[in-house]
């Protein structure tokens, strides 16, 4: 069961720095996700880990072994890509057996390994089928089976769910995670889909412009995002600008635009500081009146979208700011467009950040 350490890893393409002095430690048996927008360096970092790309600087250690200069096939890793890379002229069985046969293993040994890999991935019944008779999720299981049959203890997955339709993708998350956990593998999974990352990972590294901005468990990234970018990229967050009015006994009173006052809870910011606050859409609710112990801001519903289990509202506050709220449908009345409502949220759900040098840059999704 290998761990993976990246030490000072840097990759330049011409004058572009794709990966910038990156340090990361993926622990033994961990399901680890690289998350970030396109062009953030997550795939390049995965390719460097696999040996498909050589770093310009820095080292990669797999199981405490410096693998610099070692080709991918000798790193004892399984690679799974978005596109399945299955040989079309071989059956499922033959695809899974292929790399074992070129390793020169005995037939019985190959057979045992292939059968085990097919069983774990739920493919035993389609072993004799050709790829063009398989569904997309079966093809992806096949590439995972191939990686498992080789006995790789480290799985590197590049957008492995990207080619599946949304419904299947969601189900496949359970499958993938239970295969990895059930066999005690270490997995590094690259995705741009924040929900996928949250659902599947033990820990996540959020990438931007070749650097890692934050590493943490899903709940840590969700509840304590270290920067405005992370709060915005992970989850759906409303941001409001304000100034600290006063602070006392665990309360930070903020004055928003239009002199709206809210309590942002505990902070160490002094009166007069400019701040940006973030509140997640699902941490706000819509009601007909003020509620005790809650921040209550008056507004008007400008758009209501019924999403099934959720209702999404866009509400215009008195100061003209727009707020989006996602409310579980079962939690209350559904409000229509143009209705006057209160946006309610508790102070402990308010994330507070010093006003950044460049707010637009912090909020950009790339």
């Amino acid at each position: 069961m290998p761990d993976v350490r990246l030490v000072n890893v840097t990759k330049r393409f011409g004058s572009v720095v794709a990966v910038d002095h990156l340090n990361l430690h993926v622990r033994d048996g961990e399901y680890f996700v690289f998350l970030g927008p396109s062009g953030c360096g997550k795939t390049t970092t995965l390719r460097i880990t696999s040996g498909l790309t050589e770093p310009s600087e820095g080292e990669v250690y797999i199981d405490n072994r410096n693998v610099s200069g070692i080709p991918p096939e000798d790193r004892n890793i399984g690679l799974v890509f978005q596109h399945f890379e299955i040989f079309p002229f071989m059956t499922v069985y033959e695809n899974v057996a292929y790399s074992l046969s070129i390793q020169g293993l005995k037939d019985e040994e190959i057979d045992a390994k292939v059968h085990q890999a097919l069983e774990v991935t739920g493919l035993s019944e389609v072993a004799d089928k050709y790829p063009n008779n398989l569904s997309a999720p079966e093809l992806q299981r096949c590439s995972i089976a191939r990686a498992l049959a080789r006995g790789s203890k480290l799985l590197l997955l590049d957008e492995p769910l990207g080619s599946l339709d949304p419904k299947t993708r969601e189900r496949f998350r359970f499958t993938l995670r239970s295969i990895v956990k059930g066999r005690g593998l270490t997995a590094i999974h690259v995705t741009h889909d924040q929900e996928e990352a949250m659902a599947i990972a033990d820990r996540i590294a959020v990438f931007r412009e070749g650097r890692v901005l934050q590493v943490g468990r899903p709940i840590e990234l969700y509840e304590l995002p270290a920067s405005i970018f992370v709060a915005n990229f992970v989850g759906e967050t409303n941001f409001l600008e304000g100034v600290v009015d006063r602070r006392r006994r665990g309360k930070t009173l903020l004055r928003l635009r239009g002199n709206l006052l809210i309590d942002a809870g505990e902070s160490d910011l002094d009166a007069g500081s400019r701040v940006v606050v973030g509140v997640r859409r699902e941490n706000m609710s819509i009601g007909q009146g003020k509620e005790k112990g809650m921040n209550s801001l008056i507004g008007q519903v400008v758009r209501m979208a019924f999403l099934g289990k959720l209702v999404r509202y866009r509400v215009e506050l008195e100061n003209g700011d727009l707020i989006e709220v996602k409310q579980p449908t079962r939690m209350g009345k559904i409000f229509e467009e143009k209705e006057r409502v209160y946006v309610l949220f508790p102070s402990e759900k308010v994330l507070i950040y010093p006003y950044p040098k460049n707010l637009l840059y912090e909020l950009a999704l790339k």
Partner: protein
């Protein structure tokens, strides 16, 4: 703007009926979505509306006018695809003005329309940018502006958001709706993404095997699904097979094959009917209750848990070995359940959906 009508439209490829006896009226100014899995006939329908292919049977009418034999360029449509279909060597402005130029429209009025469209898609400050210099979302907005400058009154969109990052997709979905509504267009949008369809549409046709299984507003599809397929496509469901054992007083009681007793207040079914009883993951509550047996109560062990944005999703193994999915919104969650934990669950009779079951199933 125009009303669109399909009457018994069928399209075959060899022996396969890609679209089967499809009849539908799309109202003027409506934002309409064809939602369904791959191979359900939604893209074929869009191509039929565009005139890129002709139906084998049936007719299509725009504002009462039959479209048979009318070529795509004379149908007053704009087309937006999944991939952006911009000329790579033209900048944004040249791409957007291309249609009017080819049609030799009056340059002054063409420029005016193109300016308006660029403003509408929020690209008025990027007319000189080449496609490769734009983000995915910007490229798709430029493609939209281009589709609209030729005076389209109907907008056909084939998975227009599919190649964008998840985050950008949500933002662009609401832009799309705003633009379509602002111009008073009739829009037909194809997607396999439920949240996108629900966010953007006035009405949705849920497609399955070449024809719609249900047409309605997002709320109608969710609250009153006509088939299990519709329910399943829209979210996580738990399905039980059973037989109706009692009916009356506004309740139908079902005994499931696993031995559970379910009570539904949604549908009346006759005693001894074979049914599927379906309960959505988000309609099941975790309760502190003990292990007593009662209608609409279940007990099980937490097998897996997933942290989603705003929800915890749990995979629960019932005593019978069956696995069910339960979702708890953060706002209602008192604490996180641990894997291996024994829990009690319940759900309300109005959340038990019943569907007739064929004996063979």
């Amino acid at each position: 703007m125009p009303e669109i009508k399909l009457e018994g439209v069928t399209k075959r490829y060899g022996k396969t009926e890609a679209v089967r006896k499809f009849s539908l009226t799309i109202h003027p100014d409506e934002y309409f979505t064809l939602l369904g899995p791959i191979g359900s006939g939604k893209t074929t329908t869009l191509m039929l509306l565009a005139g890129l292919i002709e139906p084998d049977e049936g007719d299509i009418f725009f504002d009462g006018k039959p479209m048979k034999g009318v070529p795509p360029e004379d149908r007053g449509i704009g087309f937006v695809f999944e991939t952006f279909a911009l000329f790579p060597h033209y900048n944004v402005w040249e791409n957007v003005i291309y249609g009017p130029r080819v049609k030799r429209e009056d340059p002054a009025s063409a420029k005016k329309v193109a300016d308006e469209m660029l403003e509408m898609v929020l690209l008025e400050d990027r007319p000189d940018a080449l496609p490769e210099e734009l983000s995915g979302g910007m490229k798709q907005r430029a493609a939209l502006a281009r589709a609209l400058t030729s005076g389209a009154r109907i907008l056909l969109l084939d998975e227009p958001l599919a190649s964008l990052d998840a985050k950008i997709r949500v933002a662009l979905a609401s832009d799309l709706r705003r633009i379509v509504k602002g111009l008073g267009l009739t829009a037909i949008h194809v997607t396999n993404n439920v949240e996108e369809a629900m966010t953007i549409s006035d009405r949705i046709a849920m497609m399955h095997n070449g024809s719609p299984v249900q047409v309605g507003t997002p709320r109608e599809l969710y609250e009153d699904p006509k088939t299990i397929f519709v329910m399943d496509f829209m979210g996580d469901i738990n399905l039980f097979n059973g037989t109706v054992t009692r009916s009356g007083d506004g309740f139908t009681e079902v005994s499931t094959q696993e031995g559970f007793l379910f009570r539904s207040s949604r549908t009346t079914m006759e005693v001894v009917s074979k049914v599927h009883a379906v309960v959505r993951a988000e309609d099941i509550d975790i309760t502190p209750g003990g292990s007593e047996e009662a209608p609409n109560k279940l007990h099980g062990v937490v097998k897996e848990k997933m942290f989603l944005l705003g929800f915890m999703k749990y995979l629960i193994e019932l005593k019978t070995g069956q696995e069910i999915i339960v979702e708890v919104p953060f706002m209602k969650r008192e604490r996180d359940l641990e894997t291996g934990e024994d829990i009690a669950m319940e759900f309300a009779p109005q959340n038990v959906y019943l569907f007739q079951r064929e004996e063979s199933l």
